[in-house]
Subunit: 138 residues, 2 copies
Protein backbone atom coordinates (compact mmCIF):
# COMPACT_ATOMS: atom_id res chain seq x y z
CA UNK A 1 0.00 0.00 0.00
CA UNK A 2 3.01 2.26 0.52
CA UNK A 3 4.01 1.32 -3.04
CA UNK A 4 1.06 2.99 -4.77
CA UNK A 5 2.21 4.86 -7.84
CA UNK A 6 0.68 8.11 -8.95
CA UNK A 7 -1.73 7.94 -11.84
CA UNK A 8 -3.58 10.70 -13.64
CA UNK A 9 -6.66 8.54 -13.88
CA UNK A 10 -6.81 7.98 -10.14
CA UNK A 11 -6.40 11.67 -9.43
CA UNK A 12 -9.21 12.49 -11.84
CA UNK A 13 -11.41 9.97 -10.03
CA UNK A 14 -10.40 11.43 -6.68
CA UNK A 15 -11.16 14.97 -7.83
CA UNK A 16 -14.53 14.04 -9.25
CA UNK A 17 -15.47 12.18 -6.08
CA UNK A 18 -14.21 15.01 -3.88
CA UNK A 19 -16.32 17.50 -5.81
CA UNK A 20 -19.68 15.79 -5.54
CA UNK A 21 -22.07 14.85 -2.76
CA UNK A 22 -24.15 12.61 -5.01
CA UNK A 23 -22.65 9.28 -3.80
CA UNK A 24 -22.04 8.00 -7.33
CA UNK A 25 -21.73 4.38 -8.36
CA UNK A 26 -18.65 3.13 -10.20
CA UNK A 27 -20.61 3.34 -13.45
CA UNK A 28 -21.48 6.99 -12.84
CA UNK A 29 -17.87 7.83 -11.96
CA UNK A 30 -16.81 6.01 -15.12
CA UNK A 31 -19.12 8.02 -17.38
CA UNK A 32 -17.92 11.30 -15.89
CA UNK A 33 -14.21 10.47 -16.10
CA UNK A 34 -14.69 9.50 -19.74
CA UNK A 35 -15.04 13.20 -20.61
CA UNK A 36 -11.42 13.65 -19.45
CA UNK A 37 -10.00 10.25 -20.33
CA UNK A 38 -12.16 8.81 -23.10
CA UNK A 39 -10.26 5.50 -23.07
CA UNK A 40 -10.46 4.88 -19.33
CA UNK A 41 -11.55 1.39 -18.46
CA UNK A 42 -14.33 0.53 -16.06
CA UNK A 43 -11.92 -1.85 -14.34
CA UNK A 44 -9.57 1.06 -13.67
CA UNK A 45 -12.41 2.97 -12.06
CA UNK A 46 -13.30 0.02 -9.82
CA UNK A 47 -9.68 -0.62 -8.89
CA UNK A 48 -9.03 3.00 -7.98
CA UNK A 49 -12.28 3.47 -6.10
CA UNK A 50 -11.43 0.43 -4.02
CA UNK A 51 -7.90 1.74 -3.55
CA UNK A 52 -9.25 5.04 -2.25
CA UNK A 53 -11.42 3.11 0.17
CA UNK A 54 -8.48 0.96 1.32
CA UNK A 55 -6.38 4.06 1.86
CA UNK A 56 -9.14 5.59 3.96
CA UNK A 57 -9.80 8.45 1.54
CA UNK A 58 -13.32 7.32 0.67
CA UNK A 59 -16.05 5.03 1.93
CA UNK A 60 -18.13 2.45 0.13
CA UNK A 61 -21.88 2.45 0.68
CA UNK A 62 -23.76 -0.81 0.29
CA UNK A 63 -27.27 0.41 0.72
CA UNK A 64 -29.20 -2.47 -0.79
CA UNK A 65 -29.92 -1.30 -4.33
CA UNK A 66 -27.49 -3.76 -5.87
CA UNK A 67 -24.76 -1.25 -6.61
CA UNK A 68 -22.03 0.08 -4.38
CA UNK A 69 -21.93 3.85 -3.97
CA UNK A 70 -18.85 5.88 -3.11
CA UNK A 71 -18.37 8.90 -0.89
CA UNK A 72 -15.25 11.02 -0.44
CA UNK A 73 -16.55 12.34 2.86
CA UNK A 74 -15.05 10.03 5.47
CA UNK A 75 -16.21 12.04 8.45
CA UNK A 76 -18.92 10.56 10.67
CA UNK A 77 -22.23 11.16 8.95
CA UNK A 78 -25.33 9.25 7.91
CA UNK A 79 -27.14 8.38 4.72
CA UNK A 80 -30.69 8.36 3.55
CA UNK A 81 -32.02 6.37 0.59
CA UNK A 82 -35.21 7.59 -1.06
CA UNK A 83 -37.63 4.72 -1.68
CA UNK A 84 -39.14 6.70 -4.53
CA UNK A 85 -36.20 7.95 -6.61
CA UNK A 86 -33.38 5.86 -5.17
CA UNK A 87 -31.11 8.83 -4.54
CA UNK A 88 -28.65 8.64 -1.66
CA UNK A 89 -28.53 11.78 0.46
CA UNK A 90 -26.36 12.95 3.32
CA UNK A 91 -28.16 13.54 6.60
CA UNK A 92 -27.04 16.39 8.79
CA UNK A 93 -27.79 15.16 12.26
CA UNK A 94 -26.30 14.59 15.68
CA UNK A 95 -24.01 11.61 16.17
CA UNK A 96 -25.75 8.38 17.08
CA UNK A 97 -22.59 6.46 17.92
CA UNK A 98 -23.94 5.79 21.40
CA UNK A 99 -25.84 2.91 19.79
CA UNK A 100 -22.55 0.98 19.67
CA UNK A 101 -22.37 1.03 23.43
CA UNK A 102 -26.01 -0.06 23.66
CA UNK A 103 -25.23 -2.97 21.35
CA UNK A 104 -22.08 -3.97 23.20
CA UNK A 105 -23.57 -3.84 26.68
CA UNK A 106 -25.33 -7.18 26.38
CA UNK A 107 -23.06 -8.86 23.84
CA UNK A 108 -20.13 -11.19 24.42
CA UNK A 109 -18.22 -9.94 21.38
CA UNK A 110 -16.52 -6.70 20.43
CA UNK A 111 -18.35 -3.94 18.55
CA UNK A 112 -15.99 -1.94 16.35
CA UNK A 113 -18.61 0.17 14.62
CA UNK A 114 -21.92 0.27 12.89
CA UNK A 115 -23.54 1.42 9.69
CA UNK A 116 -27.03 2.90 9.60
CA UNK A 117 -29.10 3.66 6.53
CA UNK A 118 -32.29 5.64 6.81
CA UNK A 119 -35.14 5.06 4.36
CA UNK A 120 -38.12 7.11 3.33
CA UNK A 121 -39.15 9.82 0.89
CA UNK A 122 -36.72 12.60 0.05
CA UNK A 123 -37.77 16.28 0.06
CA UNK A 124 -37.96 16.45 -3.74
CA UNK A 125 -40.20 13.37 -4.05
CA UNK A 126 -42.29 14.56 -1.13
CA UNK A 127 -43.14 17.80 -2.92
CA UNK A 128 -43.95 15.90 -6.12
CA UNK A 129 -46.36 13.70 -4.14
CA UNK A 130 -48.08 16.79 -2.78
CA UNK A 131 -48.55 18.18 -6.27
CA UNK A 132 -50.12 14.93 -7.42
CA UNK A 133 -52.43 14.84 -4.40
CA UNK A 134 -53.56 18.34 -5.28
CA UNK A 135 -54.24 17.35 -8.89
CA UNK A 136 -56.35 14.40 -7.77
CA UNK A 137 -58.51 16.72 -5.69
CA UNK A 138 -59.45 18.96 -8.62
Amino acid sequence: MANAKYSRQREAIREYLAGTHSHPTAEVVYSHIQSIYPNISLGTVYRNLNLLVEQGDAIKLTCGDGMDHFDYDTSEHYHFICKSCGNVLDLTMDSINHINAIAESSFGGKIDGSVTYFYGICPACLSKEKKNDFKEEE
Copy 2:
Protein backbone atom coordinates in the same frame (compact mmCIF):
# COMPACT_ATOMS: atom_id res chain seq x y z
CA MET B 1 -50.18 -11.54 -4.01
CA ALA B 2 -53.58 -12.85 -2.91
CA ASN B 3 -53.29 -15.41 -5.70
CA ALA B 4 -50.29 -17.26 -4.29
CA LYS B 5 -50.78 -20.99 -4.59
CA TYR B 6 -49.55 -23.42 -1.98
CA SER B 7 -46.36 -25.26 -2.80
CA ARG B 8 -44.54 -27.93 -0.84
CA GLN B 9 -41.22 -26.42 -1.78
CA ARG B 10 -42.15 -23.02 -0.39
CA GLU B 11 -43.39 -24.55 2.87
CA ALA B 12 -40.14 -26.48 3.22
CA ILE B 13 -38.21 -23.24 2.70
CA ARG B 14 -40.43 -21.48 5.23
CA GLU B 15 -39.96 -24.22 7.81
CA TYR B 16 -36.22 -24.29 7.38
CA LEU B 17 -36.00 -20.53 7.69
CA ALA B 18 -38.35 -20.49 10.70
CA GLY B 19 -36.20 -23.08 12.43
CA THR B 20 -32.84 -21.39 12.22
CA HIS B 21 -31.30 -18.20 13.52
CA SER B 22 -28.28 -18.45 11.24
CA HIS B 23 -29.46 -15.89 8.65
CA PRO B 24 -28.77 -18.18 5.71
CA THR B 25 -28.10 -17.07 2.15
CA ALA B 26 -30.21 -18.40 -0.72
CA GLU B 27 -27.42 -20.85 -1.53
CA VAL B 28 -27.41 -22.21 2.03
CA VAL B 29 -31.21 -22.57 2.03
CA TYR B 30 -30.91 -24.33 -1.31
CA SER B 31 -28.40 -26.88 -0.06
CA HIS B 32 -30.54 -27.66 2.97
CA ILE B 33 -33.80 -28.01 1.06
CA GLN B 34 -32.06 -30.39 -1.36
CA SER B 35 -32.09 -33.05 1.35
CA ILE B 36 -35.91 -32.99 1.19
CA TYR B 37 -36.40 -32.09 -2.48
CA PRO B 38 -33.26 -33.19 -4.33
CA ASN B 39 -34.50 -31.68 -7.59
CA ILE B 40 -35.36 -28.26 -6.23
CA SER B 41 -34.03 -25.44 -8.34
CA LEU B 42 -32.01 -22.53 -7.03
CA GLY B 43 -34.39 -20.25 -8.90
CA THR B 44 -37.28 -21.69 -6.91
CA VAL B 45 -35.45 -20.91 -3.69
CA TYR B 46 -34.80 -17.32 -4.74
CA ARG B 47 -38.37 -16.81 -5.95
CA ASN B 48 -39.88 -18.15 -2.74
CA LEU B 49 -37.51 -16.32 -0.44
CA ASN B 50 -38.42 -13.08 -2.19
CA LEU B 51 -42.09 -14.02 -1.97
CA LEU B 52 -41.80 -14.54 1.78
CA VAL B 53 -40.17 -11.11 2.05
CA GLU B 54 -42.91 -9.50 -0.06
CA GLN B 55 -45.56 -11.12 2.10
CA GLY B 56 -43.89 -9.75 5.21
CA ASP B 57 -43.00 -13.19 6.58
CA ALA B 58 -39.26 -12.70 6.32
CA ILE B 59 -36.69 -9.96 5.92
CA LYS B 60 -33.75 -9.66 3.57
CA LEU B 61 -30.42 -8.58 5.01
CA THR B 62 -27.98 -6.80 2.74
CA CYS B 63 -25.03 -6.52 5.03
CA GLY B 64 -22.27 -5.84 2.55
CA ASP B 65 -20.72 -9.25 2.01
CA GLY B 66 -22.09 -9.56 -1.52
CA MET B 67 -24.84 -12.02 -0.66
CA ASP B 68 -28.31 -11.39 0.66
CA HIS B 69 -29.18 -13.15 3.91
CA PHE B 70 -32.68 -14.07 5.03
CA ASP B 71 -34.30 -14.00 8.42
CA TYR B 72 -37.73 -15.33 9.42
CA ASP B 73 -37.74 -13.13 12.51
CA THR B 74 -39.55 -9.97 11.42
CA SER B 75 -39.69 -8.42 14.87
CA GLU B 76 -37.58 -5.38 15.58
CA HIS B 77 -34.07 -6.55 16.26
CA TYR B 78 -30.52 -5.84 15.16
CA HIS B 79 -27.72 -7.68 13.45
CA PHE B 80 -24.01 -8.04 13.92
CA ILE B 81 -21.53 -9.15 11.28
CA CYS B 82 -18.24 -10.63 12.45
CA LYS B 83 -15.31 -9.15 10.52
CA SER B 84 -13.35 -12.31 11.22
CA CYS B 85 -15.68 -15.21 10.34
CA GLY B 86 -18.42 -13.33 8.47
CA ASN B 87 -21.24 -14.83 10.50
CA VAL B 88 -24.39 -12.78 10.99
CA LEU B 89 -25.68 -12.81 14.56
CA ASP B 90 -28.78 -11.46 16.25
CA LEU B 91 -28.17 -8.82 18.88
CA THR B 92 -30.36 -8.78 21.95
CA MET B 93 -30.51 -5.13 22.87
CA ASP B 94 -32.85 -2.26 23.61
CA SER B 95 -34.64 -0.62 20.72
CA ILE B 96 -32.75 2.18 19.03
CA ASN B 97 -35.65 3.41 16.93
CA HIS B 98 -35.33 6.85 18.50
CA ILE B 99 -32.58 7.44 15.93
CA ASN B 100 -35.29 7.85 13.29
CA ALA B 101 -36.62 10.89 15.12
CA ILE B 102 -33.08 12.27 15.44
CA ALA B 103 -32.64 11.85 11.68
CA GLU B 104 -35.99 13.38 10.83
CA SER B 105 -35.67 16.42 13.10
CA SER B 106 -33.37 18.30 10.74
CA PHE B 107 -34.47 16.76 7.43
CA GLY B 108 -36.99 18.01 4.92
CA GLY B 109 -38.05 14.52 3.86
CA LYS B 110 -39.91 11.69 5.54
CA ILE B 111 -38.09 8.95 7.44
CA ASP B 112 -39.96 5.64 7.29
CA GLY B 113 -37.35 3.51 8.96
CA SER B 114 -33.71 2.59 9.19
CA VAL B 115 -31.43 -0.39 9.09
CA THR B 116 -28.38 -0.70 11.30
CA TYR B 117 -25.62 -3.27 11.06
CA PHE B 118 -23.04 -3.61 13.79
CA TYR B 119 -19.55 -4.81 12.99
CA GLY B 120 -16.78 -6.30 15.08
CA ILE B 121 -15.51 -9.60 16.42
CA CYS B 122 -17.99 -12.22 17.53
CA PRO B 123 -17.63 -14.07 20.86
CA ALA B 124 -16.31 -17.23 19.19
CA CYS B 125 -13.61 -15.43 17.21
CA LEU B 126 -12.73 -13.34 20.24
CA SER B 127 -11.92 -16.45 22.28
CA LYS B 128 -9.89 -17.88 19.40
CA GLU B 129 -7.85 -14.65 19.28
CA LYS B 130 -7.14 -14.93 23.00
CA LYS B 131 -5.87 -18.49 22.58
CA ASN B 132 -3.53 -17.38 19.79
CA ASP B 133 -2.25 -14.46 21.87
CA PHE B 134 -1.48 -16.91 24.65
CA LYS B 135 0.41 -19.20 22.25
CA GLU B 136 2.54 -16.31 21.00
CA GLU B 137 3.57 -15.53 24.56
CA GLU B 138 4.99 -19.00 25.23
